[in-house]
């Protein structure tokens, strides 16, 4: 039930805090004026921008008659438009997202994080859409800014279940082809996929002038691998088994994870993609607010 989803995902405390937050797109996006984001397009908008000489074919309704009365020449008014930001929340719902070492799975965490982002953007009168994926797109809701969009998206979040394997690269490419207008793409995923497939997908969006934020959600144990006893590990997606001594390989494992994250960070930075690593041990709201404030400071 939409009300239930709302109550579930949007804690009043969090909501109140979000009221003071904003998520501004750094890069200019297309859109109409209703929100806070400036459009690169000079057309009809709320604010007068400048006059230009009438050219045959311009709409007559845009002729500034006052200026004609004064000058006996025809000029057209140009306006700056405040357009809607089109936001796309990409939620990874592959089976690996179901991993939890401290009671909260990455998927659950990501749902809350996504819900907060959705709320924030809709509050800003931006359009928000949702795509839930694993190795393929499972759910897609086009971006809207209507009042019912929040409930729609929260319901989708509520029903998102972890299943199947991951193929982030394909999904990103597919969405990139779908999305025509520039917007803000927010990927919430553990990125447990081949970086050589993930990064091209992200860069595809950048190529299309989208702004991209990647929330890299990991479980603390995935990052630290702090298991005590010998164990047989079973891949949640492939079912593969491997027995090892965690304490013996921990340092190497952590090094490998850090190295991987560093690679992602580097590549993202090069493409001007915001890379936000988060551990599920950090409350999602704190993680989000921390990011938003940092983003605001950096402009």
């Amino acid at each position: 039930m939409p009300d239930e989803s709302y109550r579930r995902f949007l804690d009043p405390v969090v909501v109140s805090k979000l009221a003071t937050m904003e998520l501004r797109a750094r890069l200019v996006v297309e859109g109409f004026v209703t929100g806070m984001h400036r459009s690169p397009y000079k057309g009809f908008s709320v604010e007068f921008a400048e006059h230009r000489q009438y050219m045959p074919g311009d709409p007559l309704k845009h002729i500034d008659w006052k200026v004609y009365a004064k000058t006996d020449r025809f000029y057209i008014k140009e306006y700056e438009e405040e357009t809607n930001l089109r936001g796309y929340i990409l939620l990874d719902a592959s089976r690996s997202m179901d991993y939890a070492s401290n009671g909260v799975s990455k998927l659950e965490y990501s749902r809350y994080l996504s819900a907060a982002l959705i709320y924030l953007m809709l509050k800003q009168q931006d359009s928000v859409g949702l795509m839930v994926f694993d190795e393929a797109v499972r759910e897609f809701v086009a971006p809207r800014s209507s009042p019912t969009q929040l409930h729609t998206l929260l319901a989708k979040l509520d029903h998102a279940e972890a299943s199947d394997e991951t193929d982030i690269g394909i999904v990103l490419h597919e969405l990139a082809r779908r999305v025509k207008r520039r917007g803000l793409v927010i990927l919430v995923s553990d990125l447990l996929d081949d970086p050589d497939r993930v990064l091209p997908g992200l860069k595809h969006f950048r190529h299309l002038k989208h702004e991209v934020i990647v929330f890299h959600v990991l479980d603390p144990r995935e990052a630290e691998f702090n298991f005590d006893a010998d164990a047989t590990f079973r891949d949640m997606e492939t079912g593969e088994l491997m027995t090892t001594e965690p304490f013996s390989i921990r340092s190497d494992y952590v090094g490998a994870v850090e190295s991987w994250k560093a690679h992602l960070r580097r590549e993202c930075a090069e493409s001007r993609i915001d890379y936000v690593p988060i551990l599920t041990s950090t409350p999602y709201d704190r993680a989000l607010f921390s990011y938003l404030e940092k983003r605001k400071r950096l402009g």
Partner: protein, 729 residues
């Protein structure tokens, strides 16, 4: 050197050993890996524990769902494989630690002369033959044995342990707790001497092996030094070494055995036995002394035997002996009857002096107390009358003292008083009388049962008398025409020496007798036409001297004119005299034992004071009193000679102790026989000319390896700690 000590080859018959002397040397010189504490090898099984724990742990490894194995896979090629290898190494190292520790505890040892070996600690048991046979040649042979033992003691090194055992019966350990000091061994050797006992090599070796079993030293050695007398290898009561014909496989746990045979003269004449018998019908105090003489040489010989009674020569006689044969010499001795007398027969000095005397004792000859038991009822003459008259002192020349009672009074008699009891046609006996007779016979007393008219066959066959005599009565046999007694009696040892007039015996007819059966009695006088006329059975009483009680005789015909002509013939007197004399011998039989046994003498009555024993050497000890039944005294017979038992200064008995006649046969067991007897051991024969030192020390080389295994365990432990250290803080 040994050759200077053993210089007797060529004398006597030492050829059985001389061949071996030339090829002396250690039998084997091989590299031998062994474990001194083999029981700890079982601990090596604990080396499987790490593997078991590993296998059990593996089963308990939890399966954890994890988001992705991609990083683990990346690490597999390098790190995880290294981890697995490390796990395997740890498993191997931990198993090796346990294995090395267990092997160290088992004390592995490399034995043998392999250049670079060190003297391994040794425990030695020196068995010296200190029996009578080693005193030959005035003790020189024993001196040689002690010299060899000193040589062995001289080879002892620091940490070496020694035991000293004498092989004279019974084998005795002079250093039963062992000693690490060669000086102590030398001191004990100085105090050793030969004794009068026989040899028992087998028991001595067993004793020595038992002492060495407790040793923890690498090497264990047993030295057997002696004349290898063949009789010394036989177990008590068994025959000669042929009894040990089976060869056993060598048992590595047995100590290495060195046999050092000594050669000496083996020609010897001995006195295996001497017996003293009162002569039948002889005047009081007259005894026959019979000595057996044995020749253990390979040639015939003559022997002059002398008789000594109470320390004075009383006779001498010569005897010719075949090679390996025996002869008999008889002497007549006359002594005062009322006293005990001791004596000996003696040979001239020869190779072995210890066996040249054989001691004997002549008991004090008191009148033989005879108790005649008659039926309580009856008129007129009956068997007891005739018996009493036959044994009457007037006719016996104070030989017998006869008492006559009714059978009802038997149980009230003093059982120690009478040497012989005669049941003269006693029909039935009550239980008390039967028990009395039991004790009397067990005490060595003789019993003569004369059957007659009043004999109750059914009662007899179910009574104690039947068991005591071994006789079962079947039925009376009547021969109205009579059966002549003479053929049965002539030549019977009981009547040996008697001269019969033909009519004296020939006219005796037996008209009635009982048909008796005595299947287990050996001494039976048969009367054709009647059956067994007289049976004499020796009762075996375990507690009695030589295990023998008194004798029981049964006369199947009555001393009654209606049964036979015996009562009215003069023959009844010598017959009854001989029977009474025969039956009285057990109670008065003098005691004679071998050195090493206990000398037990019967006493006429319970002593009123302490019984003291004067040993042949003059030493006086207290005797131990026994009731066997009947009063007796016993003392340990440690030296040959006559032992005097006294109460309040009065001699109450004498006993004779002699050297074991087995010692007279000086023939040694040959090498093959000894090898067979010791077939389960690693044996080295060290003959004359061989260097004992060389032979012994070569075998002692060896190296204990427990330290190496312990160090290996410690190194492995350090390696384990290094491999198992935490890799991630």
């Amino acid at each position: 050197m040994r050759s200077s000590l053993i210089s007797r080859s060529g004398r006597g018959s030492g050829s059985a050993w001389s061949a071996s002397f030339r090829c002396g040397g250690v039998k084997e010189n091989r590299l031998n890996f062994t474990f001194l504490n083999g029981a700890f090898l079982f601990a090596a099984l604990a080396a499987l524990l790490p593997l078991l724990i590993h296998l059990i742990s593996r089963r308990r490894v939890a399966t954890i769902d994890f988001s992705s194995l991609r990083f683990l896979k990346e690490l597999e090629r390098k790190r995880i494989r290294r981890v697995r290898l490390r796990q395997i190494l740890l498993l191997i190292v931990r198993s090796l630690i346990i294995l090395a520790a267990a092997l160290a505890l088992a004390r592995p040892t490399l034995k043998g002369s392999f250049g670079g070996g060190a003297h391994a600690k040794t425990s030695v048991a020196i068995v010296i033959d200190d029996s009578a046979s080693m005193s030959r040649e005035n003790g020189d042979m024993f001196s040689d044995a002690v010299g060899l033992a000193r040589e062995i003691a001289g080879l002892l090194d620091d940490g070496d342990e020694a035991y000293l055992i004498g092989a004279g019966e019974p084998p005795h350990a002079l250093l039963s707790d062992g000693t690490f000091s060669p000086d102590v061994v030398l001191e004990e050797l100085e105090g050793m001497s030969t004794g009068p006992a026989a040899t028992d090599y087998s028991s001595a070796i067993e004793l020595a092996s038992g002492l060495l079993e407790n040793s923890r030293n690498l090497n264990r050695e047993l030295y057997l030094i002696g004349d290898m007398q063949r009789s010394g290898w036989a177990a008590a009561g068994a025959d000669q070494p042929e009894a040990y014909a089976d060869t056993e496989p060598v048992d590595d746990t047995e100590p290495r055995t060195y046999v050092l045979p000594l050669i000496g003269p083996t020609v010897n004449i001995g006195l295996p036995s001497v017996s003293v018998e009162r002569r039948y019908g002889a005047a009081p105090g007259h005894f026959a002394v019979t000595a057996r003489v044995s020749n253990h040489g390979r040639r015939g010989a003559e022997a002059l035997v002398r008789l000594f009674v109470d320390g004075e020569q009383a006779g001498q006689a010569g005897v010719e002996l075949d090679s390996g044969g025996t002869g008999t010499v008889r002497f007549a001795a006359t002594v005062r009857e009322s006293e005990w007398h001791g004596g000996w027969v003696e040979l001239p000095d020869d190779a072995l002096d210890t066996d040249n005397r054989r001691y004997f004792v002549i008991p004090s000859s008191r009148r033989t107390e005879v108790l005649v038991v008659r039926p309580d009822s009856g008129d007129g003459l009956d068997d007891s009358d005739y018996i009493e008259r036959a044994l009457d002192p007037g006719s016996s020349g104070d030989r017998f003292s006869v008492s006559v009672i009714g059978h009802g009074a038997l149980a009230r008699q003093d059982s120690d008083r009478f040497s012989v009891v005669v049941l003269a046609d006693v029909g039935r006996l009550d239980d008390g009388s039967a028990r009395w007779l039991d004790r009397h016979v067990a005490d060595g007393g003789g019993l003569l049962v004369v059957l007659g008219n009043k004999t109750d066959i059914r009662h007899w066959n179910s009574s104690r008398l039947s068991e005591l005599s071994g006789v079962e009565i079947v039925a009376p046999v009547d021969r109205p025409d009579g059966v002549r007694l003479a053929p049965a009696l002539r030549g019977h040892p009981l009547l040996d020496g008697l001269v019969f007039g033909e009519r004296l015996v020939d006219d005796i007819l037996v008209r009635r007798a009982f048909d008796i059966r005595a299947p287990e009695v050996e001494e039976v006088l048969e009367l054709p036409g009647v059956g067994s006329l007289l049976v004499i059975d020796r009762k075996r009483i375990a507690e009695a001297p030589a295990g023998l009680g008194g004798e029981v005789a049964v006369l199947a015909t009555g001393i009654d004119p209606s049964w036979s002509d015996l009562p009215r013939s003069g023959f009844v007197v010598p017959l009854l005299h001989r029977l009474a004399e025969r039956l009285s011998r057990t109670s008065s039989r003098p005691a004679s034992v071998t050195v090493g046994e206990n000398l037990l003498v019967r006493l006429q009555k319970p002593p009123t004071g302490r019984v003291e024993v004067e040993m042949p050497s003059g030493r006086t000890v207290a005797a131990e009193l026994r009731d066997i039944p009947g009063p007796a005294a016993t003392v340990s017979a440690t030296e040959p000679g006559v032992y005097r038992f006294s109460v309040d200064g009065r001699v109450v008995a004498l006993g004779a102790v002699n050297v074991d006649p087995r010692e007279s046969d000086l023939t040694p067991a040959d090498r093959g026989e000894v090898e067979d007897l010791l077939s389960a051991r690693l044996v080295t024969f060290v003959g004359e000319g061989a260097r004992l030192e060389d032979e012994v020390l070569q075998a002692r080389y060896g190296r204990e390896l427990w330290r190496a295994f312990l160090y290996a365990a410690l190194v492995l432990l350090a390696l384990e700690m290094y491999l198992a250290r935490p890799r991630f803080a």
